[in-house]
């Protein structure tokens, strides 16, 4: 996925930030241990959030450990370990989603990138089969996601249709976290659905300009009446930002409702921070401060 689902640090307690970091570090450690060095590259904020949510609803026994960063041995780290499946499942899901991304890129990127994708796919093949064997339901979800995405784009569907595969992916993945509690399952699924829509729309909004330049499909282009090949004016950009922001807000409004109903336990404040502060901050940074565009521009110079 894309790294948009993250907390807003300025609004966190120091303790909460340290907990979040400890979950991140533990996920990185488990990824390396279970699936090897290359899989560790798939570490992301999104999957950290998935692991965190899993810790919230699963109720497995947790313990805190001190150690050294697995990538940089000079750095000291705290790890929050779990007795349950939480991290292993998140790590497996992370690897399976990375594979799907590589398969997708292998189909439509340039020669060197395609070559890179092939090599990475070859090197992670055995580990990915291991993950798929452990979590067949997640493997099936990841495959259905890629298939659905390709189909929706081939049919040229609108923003809702194109966001559906991501929404369903997260709905099923989140709903699968709860044990047998029906109410929590519905709430988690609903949360995942709108978070998935949000992630897809955020990514589409972030890529809009580049997609237009390179003539790639983007459902927001048709919605906003923008043609590929033509440079965007400042007015077009503002219009696109305002529209995307509204569409994203609508999804945040709908995901706050199930989040309020979830029983989240000790990490609840972090989850609430992500939904109520983190996502809006990402909208602000990407749509209005245009941080990515500036980075891309700097690279070109």
């Amino acid at each position: 996925m894309f790294g948009y689902v993250r907390p807003y640090k300025s609004e966190m307690l120091v303790r909460e930030f340290e907990q979040y970091k400890a979950v991140y570090c533990e996920l990185c450690r488990v990824l390396g241990r279970e699936y090897g060095l290359l899989a560790r590259l798939s570490l992301s904020y999104d999957l950290t959030f998935y692991a965190l949510l899993s810790l919230c609803v699963d109720g497995a026994a947790l313990s805190q450990h001190q150690g050294r960063c697995v990538v940089n041995p000079l750095k000291k780290c705290t790890f929050i370990r779990s007795e349950g499946e939480d991290y292993r499942r998140a790590a497996g899901f992370s690897l399976l989603l990375m594979r799907q991304k590589l398969l997708d890129d292998r189909a439509d990127e340039g020669f060197w990138k395609r070559l890179g994708c092939r090599i990475a796919l070859g090197l992670t093949g055995r580990k990915a089969r291991k993950a798929a064997g452990q979590y067949p339901e997640l493997a099936a979800l990841a495959e259905a996601f890629t298939r659905g995405q390709a189909q929706a784009e081939a049919e040229g569907q609108g923003p809702d249709g194109c966001a559906e595969p991501t929404a369903v992916l997260l709905r099923e993945a989140f709903a699968g976290l709860s044990g047998c509690d029906g109410g929590q399952r519905t709430a988690l699924g609903e949360f995942g659905y709108f978070l998935g829509r949000w992630v897809y729309l955020m990514d589409a909004a972030d890529d809009l300009e580049e997609d237009l330049r390179r003539g790639r499909f983007n459902p927001l282009a048709a919605k906003l009446g923008l043609e590929s090949g033509r440079a965007l004016t400042e007015a077009d950009r503002d219009r696109a930002a305002a529209y995307c922001n509204e569409a994203l807000n609508a999804n945040v409004a709908r995901m706050i409702l199930p989040v309020n109903l979830l029983e989240l336990g000790p990490f609840g404040p972090i989850v609430e921070n992500v939904v109520k502060k983190g996502l809006p901050e990402v909208q602000r940074e990407i749509l209005f401060l245009r941080v990515h565009e500036k980075r891309r521009g700097a690279r070109k110079l």
Binding site: D160, G183, N249, R254, P258, L261
Partner: protein, 209 residues
């Protein structure tokens, strides 16, 4: 029932005011109005019932009578108010009300384009909204309002969708100022300004400067 103080998230030594405030905050969070069109309605109702009972129990313990004020039955837009208008799609409204969204959509999709009136667009929008297809839902609500501008039911649905998009219910609102209305710096500079103005006219607001 579990400990009513725990349900409201207050300590047993909390004052009546604190309890009232905790109850109000929770009631706002779980208020059924917000969940009217959501599969989470049952869960929210359950939570609401739980905090109502807890609040009643505490009040009974403390005073021997029930809560005053509180939150009554949901008002506002709960959609599909029966008898409000002569509906040509009564069966579809019933299906939506009972949560049979797929069936409702199937019937709506079977309506030939020339028979698709404002109500059709409104109901199709409601179905899309329930499914989470928020962009198309909004477009359908707008179309319904264009075709029948005077209808309160349609404009309430569109208003709700537009409010959610504005960022007041979550998300980012680019028009809201980050600092709020007035902070300590604003107050100091305003006072300094006022002092300068007074001094111009020969008076003095802050004698020391």
């Amino acid at each position: 029932m579990s400990d009513p103080y725990k349900v409201l998230g207050v300590s047993p030594s909390a004052t009546d005011e604190e309890i009232k405030e905790a109850y109000r905050n929770l009631a706002k969070k779980y208020h059924p109005d917000q969940y009217a069109d959501s599969p989470l309605k049952d869960l929210a109702d359950e939570k609401m019932k739980e905090i109502n009972e807890a609040y009643d129990a505490i009040n009974d313990q403390r005073r021997g009578r029930g809560p005053q004020g509180g939150y009554g039955s949901p008002g506002g837009w709960n959609g599909y108010a029966s008898g409000q208008n002569r509906s040509g799609f009564g069966d579809v409204r019933n299906l939506i009300m009972t949560g049979r969204i797929a069936d409702a959509e199937q019937i709506l999709n079977g309506v030939p384009p020339e028979r698709r009136n404002a109500e059709w667009y409104f109901l199709k929008g409601s179905v899309l909204y329930r499914r989470g297809w928020l962009e198309e839902a909004k477009d359908h609500f707008s179309r319904a309002c264009q075709m029948d501008p005077g209808n309160g039911e349609y404009s309430a649905a569109l208003n709700q969708a537009m409010n959610q998009r504005s960022g007041v219910y979550g998300g980012y609102n680019p028009n809201a100022s980050a600092m709020g209305g007035c902070n300590a710096c604003d107050m100091c500079s305003s006072l300094m300004c006022a002092d300068c103005c007074c001094e111009c006219m020969g008076g003095d607001l802050i004698p020391c400067c």
